[in-house]
Amino acid sequence: MSVANVSDCRPKTVRLRYFALLREQAKRDNEVRATTARTCAELYFELQKEYSFPLPLSQMKVAVNEEFVGPERPLQAGDEVVFIPPVAGG
């Protein structure tokens, strides 16, 4: 295991915000969470187990620190992560 991976596995603290369906399902609109997830995708799987989110990751978009990112983006301590269920403007 490389040094980088060891570093990735340490728990880090991230902030989550929940909207719409996810907010209702998680029964909260934000949380500060210590996680060993290395990527946004891994974090979603962790949350999905805990809150029984019905939507697969493939239907979500992901934003970190107020910008859209891919699901494989590595998580860093202090990140604000938002999983975005299907939207409906207009």
Binding site: F19, A20, E66, E67, P86, A88, G89
Partner: protein, 144 residues
């Protein structure tokens, strides 16, 4: 300087004020789109709507969409405003306006902005039905 505006509002939208911001005597054509809260969707009677928005990202994405439309269609100016919170029937959920020298550009620009808003803006819509039930709907399930 091109006018490029995107905003979110908890209060009812005023098309007069929003379009006034786009006034420009170089513009020959102005096209606006308004999304109205309608009384039915997918066979159900709708009595109200609620929009929940991720404000910080919605403002950035909304401004990007308007700027893209200006660049793509050679608009003189464009703007959009999305309402959030609880809305009654007939209220304006979203307003889009585009000005251009010629009408084709203004039509294409306004259509582009509303299409992109519907698919890209981090905003969610909950429908309240006459039956008392509610549902989060998204843009693959319905369209205005």
């Amino acid at each position: 300087m091109k006018i490029c505006q995107f905003s979110l509002s908890a209060e009812p939208l005023s098309p007069v004020l929003l379009s006034r911001a786009l006034s420009d005597t170089a513009a020959g054509a102005f096209v606006s789109f308004e999304g109205w809260v309608r009384n039915h969707n997918r066979g159900k009677t709708v009595v109200a709507l609620e929009y929940e928005v991720y404000q910080a990202l919605a403002l950035k994405e909304g401004e990007r969409i308007v700027a893209e439309a200006i660049a793509k269609f050679g608009l003189i100016g464009a703007g959009a405003c999305h309402r959030y919170g609880l809305l009654g029937l007939g209220e304006i959920a979203v307003w889009v306006g585009a000005t251009a020298p010629h009408r084709c550009q203004a039509f294409a620009g306004a259509a582009y902005i509303i299409d992109e808003i519907k698919h890209r803006l981090p905003i969610w819509k909950k429908e309240y039905y006459a039956t008392g039930s509610t549902a989060w709907v998204h843009c693959s399930e319905h369209s205005h």
